[in-house]
């Protein structure tokens, strides 16, 4: 059985197709190939190293997925020494020199997760088994990220999660082979809580509409904890299916519920749809309990703000990063991205870009692609210059700790990209929690033979 496996995972044979078969003398070869071809899954043998970018190109988070892909392409360009280098010169580590990773040129393959766990795992498997991807990145849905992270653990391939905001990703579902730069719902709650208290007072009744999956659940939980700490009451929590499109049947009951704040635990197109429909139902102009009715969108991106248009004005949320940040790294990244694509990068693009750089940097510092060594290089790594200030990649749960930005939809945008305003920042110390706050287990370092 083992011989089969080793033989089959000879990527070159498969990739080069017919020519490869003819050149190597067809079938007997497949079964007798040396068992020592590689000591870990997809060890790069040629002069390129292949990364796999698994993003949603269809479904509720397709906008984010497309932006992630742009950032991945840009990161690969910069790693290979093309373009202006983006954030690399401002990165606190100087291991990256623009000659690929460990001297090997970076190539990449892409896949569509369709915002579905099943499809995402299929696509990740294809990239690992067929295309020989050494690292998988991507996300845009926590359900997908957790599913793919589990697969990567099994196959011994490092997963650098991009946009995933659920507490579970580095909480109960944390994995040794999975890393997250993005912040999480709990941190959003810590950041957003005081801001909501300042703006809306302590006597409020909140109605939650929640995307019915891991991210929505943990965000709802975190927002309830944060708002109830302020003294708010929770009127009702209602789960809505992901990709529901028309949320009107869920919004109508809000009108007579006695609530005066609507918290939309939705993201992507779901967030855009539920927010605009809530505004259509007149919620923003409404009075309840003698106060102005308010809408909160705890996790917000500029892509959503663009989709929601006017409806976004004045609405509070949190963001992992926003392009108007004035540190050198952020400015360099925004310029480089804007010059290439004619638009500023979203937070999804930013985290994807940073994760790719962080993986490359870790491999350089480890001096090998051997996953356990790369993992150790990432664990408890302290860095700066990638847009969020000093950041720690905590080894105990593979979560990054850094400042969290509270944003608000701008009332008078000066141009079509200037949609959000950073109104406050929750410091890294504030949003840091104990590693065992969420229970979970990372699992072993041992590389698997995919």
């Amino acid at each position: 059985m083992t011989n089969f496996k080793k033989g089959i995972s000879r990527r070159r044979l498969i990739k080069t197709g017919l020519a490869g078969v003819l050149a190597t003398g067809v079938s007997p070869y497949i079964f007798s190939r040396s068992a020592f071809a590689q000591e870990f899954c997809n060890a790069p043998t040629g002069d390129t190293v292949t990364l796999g970018f698994n993003v949603p190109l269809t479904g509720a988070y397709a906008d984010e997925g497309a932006d992630e892909l742009r950032a991945f392409e840009l990161a690969v360009e910069h790693l290979n020494g093309e373009g202006d280098g983006g954030m690399i010169p401002h990165f606190s580590s100087d291991a990256l020199t623009g000659n690929g990773i460990l001297g090997k040129r970076v190539a990449y393959v892409t896949g569509d997760t369709q915002t579905q766990s099943d499809a995402a795992r299929d696509s990740a498997r294809r990239m690992i088994e067929r295309d020989g991807a050494l690292m998988i990145s991507g996300g845009s849905s926590s359900g997908v990220a957790i599913a793919v992270q589990g697969l990567c653990q099994e196959m011994g391939v490092i997963f650098m999660a991009a946009l995933t905001h659920s507490n579970d990703t580095t909480g109960k579902d944390r994995r040794r082979y999975g890393f997250r730069h993005f912040f999480n719902a709990y941190q959003s709650g810590i950041g957003l809580g005081p801001q909501l208290g300042d703006a809306y007072g302590t006597d409020r009744r909140a109605y939650h509409l929640t995307a019915d999956y891991t991210w929505g659940w943990t965000q709802e939980e975190s927002m309830i904890a944060a708002t109830e700490a302020l003294g708010w009451e929770t009127a009702e929590t209602v789960r809505t299916p992901v990709g529901a499109g028309d949320f009107s049947q869920y919004i109508t009951p809000v009108l007579n519920s006695g609530a005066d704040v609507l918290i939309l635990n939705h993201y992507g197109f779901d967030g855009v749809n539920s927010l605009t429909q809530a505004v259509q139902f007149g919620l923003k102009d409404r009075q309840a309990n003698g106060k102005n009715f308010q809408i909160v969108l705890p996790l917000v991106s500029d892509l959503m703000a663009a989709g929601a248009g006017n409806a976004m004005q004045g609405v509070f949320g949190t963001s992992n990063w926003y392009w108007s940040q004035q540190d050198e790294g952020s400015k360099a990244f925004t310029n480089s991205f804007g010059a290439k694509y004619g638009r500023p990068p979203s937070q999804a693009a930013h985290t994807s870009y940073v994760q790719t750089l962080l993986y490359a940097d870790a491999a350089e510092r480890a001096g090998t692609f051997y996953p356990p060594e790369v993992i150790r290089a990432l664990e408890d790594y302290e860095f700066d210059g990638l847009g969020n200030g000093p950041t720690l990649y905590r080894g105990a749960d593979h979560q990054c700790f850094k400042d969290v930005f509270v944003v608000q939809g701008k009332e008078n945008p000066s141009n079509e990209f200037d949609l959000l305003e950073v109104v406050s920042t929750a410091s890294r110390d504030n949003v840091t929690y104990a590693p065992d706050f969420f229970e979970g287990e990372l699992g072993p370092y041992d590389p698997a033979m995919c």
Binding site: L57, T58, A62, D63, A66, E236, V238, P241, G245, D246, S248, Q249, Y250, T252, P253, L255, N256, S257, F269, V272, N273, T276, Q277, Q280, F281, G282, D285, R286, Q287, G307, G309, W323, S324, T334, N335, S336, F337, G338, A339, G342, P344, N415, F417, D418
Partner: protein, 342 residues
């Protein structure tokens, strides 16, 4: 009380959409005897008529303003829609009203699409088994939605409603309830009235024109009408075109409520089939009644009180109803004997 009334209202616009789609489905089915799985795609094509129309009139001229800089340091691009450039304020009004105006585009386009579909493909399937009709139209639906995806991309494209109709009407205060107790977005009200208008027009057309009489006679007994020497095929082709227009218009006006994407049709298709079956295969009033009934029921099932009583009911109410109706009243609410029972 107010909550129930609010949900009733909320069911009306959805019910209107279901009724319009189911009406076309039933027309095609009743006249041509074809089970058209591509009917949802026609709804989607209608929605994309609105998208295309808006893209046409908002085609932009790009100028750069060296005074202002974009976030990445190059001169800021300023985009002006052509309509606004040349027509000034009127252009702005046209853009504002792009959704209702795109009906003007949708009617001829959908008519042509319908006729081409019928002449090109559907007519060869009149006498083939229903299973094959389902399959070929299912394939056609895939082709249509993928074509739309190639041209318009996979993402939903929001269509703003005219600014006059933004916000919500205080329906409650019209009826003497507490002001603000029952509000209902203006556009949903418009959509409901629009669907009533279209439904009335179609029924009037079928009742009061000779064309309609022939079609109704054909629905009852195709062979007899043929024996009378009436060229019923040509009328049926037009009928298919009409069904396409009805579905298309339903789609056009729905865009501000739900940003259209390429698989919008599939989502509505399953539901509209359930509507047709519940209403009774081949019964036009049945289709309309069932459309509104299901829209309202779906809305009611989402009420918290009901969901607490029967968890998950909002997710399955439509299908559950379909199963019960099919088992208890196999011909649906108003179905005729002998339809699809061979």
């Amino acid at each position: 009380m107010e909550a129930i009334f609010a949900q009733l209202l909320n069911g009306l616009d959805k019910g209107g959409a279901y009724a319009l789609i189911a009406l076309g489905l039933t027309l095609v089915f009743g006249t041509l005897g074809v089970v058209n799985f591509a009917h949802g795609a026609l709804f989607m094509l209608g929605a994309f008529c609105a998208v295309a129309f808006r893209e046409l009139i908002t085609y932009e001229i790009v100028t750069t303003d060296p005074e202002q800089l974009s976030p990445w340091g190059s001169p800021l691009e300023i985009r002006t829609p052509i309509a606004q450039q040349y027509l000034g304020d009127w252009g702005a009004v046209i853009i504002d009203y792009s959704v209702p105006l795109s009906i003007l585009l949708a009617i001829p386009v959908m008519l042509i699409i319908g006729i081409v579909m019928e002449r090109g493909l559907i007519k060869h399937f009149y006498n083939r088994p229903h299973a094959e009709q389902i399959l070929v139209t299912f394939g056609l639906a895939i082709v249509l939605q993928e074509l739309v995806k190639t041209f318009f991309g996979p993402n939903p494209i929001p269509q703003p409603m005219p600014s006059t109709f933004r916000g919500a009407a205080d329906v409650g205060s019209w009826l003497g309830l507490t002001p603000g107790a029952v509000t209902y977005p203006w556009w949903r009200l418009v959509y409901f009235l629009f669907s009533i208008g279209i439904l009335s027009a179609v029924f009037a057309f079928l009742r009061f024109t000779t064309f309609g009489m022939v079609v109704r006679a054909g629905m009852a007994d195709r062979e007899t009408v043929r024996l009378l020497g009436i060229d019923i095929d040509r009328r049926f082709t037009l009928m298919f075109g009409l069904a396409a227009v009805v579905a298309g218009l339903a789609g056009v006006m729905y865009t501000p409520l739900l940003p259209p994407n390429y698989h919008l049709g599939m989502e509505f298709l399953v539901l509209s089939f359930v509507v047709v079956v519940v209403g009774g295969m081949g019964s036009l009033p049945g289709a309309v009644a069932a459309g509104f009934l299901l829209g309202i029921l779906q809305s009611f099932a989402s009420m918290t009180a009901i969901k607490n009583l029967i968890p998950g009911i909002d997710q399955i109410i439509i299908y559950l109803l379909a199963v019960v109706i099919l088992l208890v009243r196999p011909r649906g609410l108003m179905g005729r004997r002998g339809v699809m029972e061979s």
